[in-house]
């Protein structure tokens, strides 16, 4: 049986939920997001002697997740799951609050992986275009083009989030 190195189990227990949220937004899918999180934590486990104590294991894990999700747009595209339908977002439905979250995830899922990753880092992570380019090891121009296309797709008149984005 594999034993967890000192501090690793505590780190996973404390930060797992937050990392899964990051993973779900990066993929637009709950199952893939949790899968991405666990895969990244395997790499964190491998690098643990360098990350603990005194390192930044969460930042490392998030970067592994982000880069894996970014690469998915290039070589793992077959694992992408296109959205089938976007739920309605009618006002007085008791399911409304959960439907909004589902609609956002469905809209993210419908985007190409690289556009999705850039939008999540830009608007949820609050990173600048330069910081995103450094995180993804790409040019600022690439970040700008992916972000522009992603936003345009979400704001299309027939786009899934046009009503929510206003």
């Amino acid at each position: 049986v594999t034993a967890a190195p000192d501090g690793f189990a505590e780190f996973v227990t404390a930060r797992y939920a937050a990392l899964v949220r990051h993973g779900v937004l990066l993929t637009g899918d709950h199952g893939l997001g949790e899968d991405l999180t666990q895969d990244a934590l395997v790499k964190t486990h491998r690098a643990w002697s360098r990350l603990h104590p005194g390192g930044a294991p969460e930042a490392y894990t998030r970067q592994v997740m982000t880069r894996a999700a970014w690469r998915a747009g290039r070589r793992l595209w077959r694992r992408e799951r296109p959205t089938v339908a976007v739920p309605d977002t009618a006002g007085s439905d008791p399911y409304d609050s959960l439907d909004t979250a589902a609609a956002v995830l469905a809209a993210l899922r419908a985007l190409p992986a690289q556009q999705r990753v850039v939008l999540v880092l830009r608007y949820w992570g609050g990173l600048s275009e330069r910081e995103i380019a450094a995180e993804l090891n790409c040019s600022v121009g690439t970040v700008k083009s992916r972000a522009g296309r992603g936003i345009a797709a979400l704001r299309r008149p027939d786009g899934p989030l046009v009503a929510l984005l206003g």
Binding site: V24, Q38, L41, A85, P94, T100, I151, L165
Partner: protein, 338 residues
């Protein structure tokens, strides 16, 4: 724009709940698998290199086999598809697995044979076994029984009344005998309660006997695979369908016409809109029980329907949970039972 986008992403992230009850165990399991792959890959490469060197092809099946110290390698993993027969119940790293259901019970004692309740230590989980009543003890010890039971057997032995429904984390349904669901309602945490939960789509029946507070925590900790329920699972070929009324189980209609049965099944299985994970209708909503019976003796599929305008949904004993539009069910049931 930026603020609104962030707000929407925050809202989506806020609804996310991890589905893995034991993330440390899950990650360490992946670490073991990755390590085995690396070792096996290196060994295969070394063997292949030797084989090339001597001009022979050597195949080493043991090299790609599971590591002997890995409990995950010796216990079959549950499949993600609904089971129709009895589930094989296993315990691994403190988690009871049965079909697509996982119940984390870290620190519990595992018993695989019947034993007297008074000889049973606190917090024992019986696997395909049960405590035998009787003896000098007055205060029953908290225990759980987990038994693999085929869906058909479970439903045949099920209560004559419309059962009450419990939505497990992730959205799949479980069914509870009427009168027992109150064990999960607010009340004194120390009060001893009994709950019999049937999960036909996973081939397992679980009995909980313990204080109410602990019972609520354990039921909330149950996880399922497939994690998110899809459309209703109702196999074709039913020869008789009964629709029973809310609560009493009194039959309000029986259908034997294959065309009408097919129409009803197609309508139910054709609903694609899923109920969002985490949403549960009030437990006291009136529900109707639609029972599909098949030529194979004893084969039964149960669909539980709530047509209430404020919370319409349908679940199948073979898995699946969907939103039921308020204007679909009433005309459909009236039409097929005319």
């Amino acid at each position: 724009m930026s603020d609104r986008m962030k707000e929407l992403l925050d809202r989506a992230a806020g609804e996310v709940r991890p589905r893995e009850p034991d993330p440390v165990g899950a990650v360490l399991g992946r670490v073991r698998v990755a390590r085995r792959r690396r070792i096996a890959g290196a060994a295969v490469a070394a063997v292949a290199a030797c084989a090339v060197a001597v001009g022979a092809v050597v195949v080493g099946p043991a090299l790609t086999g599971p590591a002997p110290d890995d409990p995950a390698a010796t216990t079959p993993a549950p499949t993600g598809t609904p089971v129709t027969g009895p589930a094989t119940v296993t315990v691994e790293n403190g988690v009871v697995r049965a079909g697509g259901l996982r119940l984390p019970l870290p620190g519990w004692t595992v018993a695989t044979g019947d034993q007297a309740i008074c000889d049973t230590v606190d917090h024992t989980v019986f696997i395909d076994a049960a405590p035998v009543p009787g003896g000098p003890c007055n205060d029953p010890t908290p225990y759980i029984t987990v038994r693999g039971v085929g869906a058909d057997t479970m439903l045949r032995k099920g209560p004559p009344e419309v059962p009450q429904q419990l939505i497990l984390a992730g959205g799949q349904p479980a069914f509870v005998e009427r009168g027992m669901i109150g064990a999960l309602d607010p009340g004194p945490d120390s009060e001893s309660r009994l709950l019999v939960m049937r999960v036909p789509w996973s081939g397992v029946s679980i009995t909980f006997s313990m204080p109410r507070g602990e019972l609520r925590e354990l039921v909330a900790a149950i996880r399922t695979e497939p994690l998110a329920p899809g459309p209703l699972v109702v196999p074709p070929g039913a020869t008789r369908v009964t629709i029973a009324g809310s609560g009493t189980g009194m039959s309000v209609g029986t259908i034997v016409d294959p065309a009408r049965i097919g129409e009803l099944r197609a309508a139910l299985t054709g609903i694609r809109e899923q109920v969002p994970a985490g949403f549960e209708c009030p437990r006291n909503l009136p529900r109707q029980l639609v029972t599909f019976q098949y030529p194979d003796p004893g084969t039964v599929v149960m669909v539980l329907v709530s047509a209430a305008a404020e919370c319409g949904e349908a679940t199948s004993s073979h898995g699946g949970r969907v939103k039921l539009p308020a204007d679909l069910w009433a005309p459909l049931s009236a039409k097929v039972t005319r």
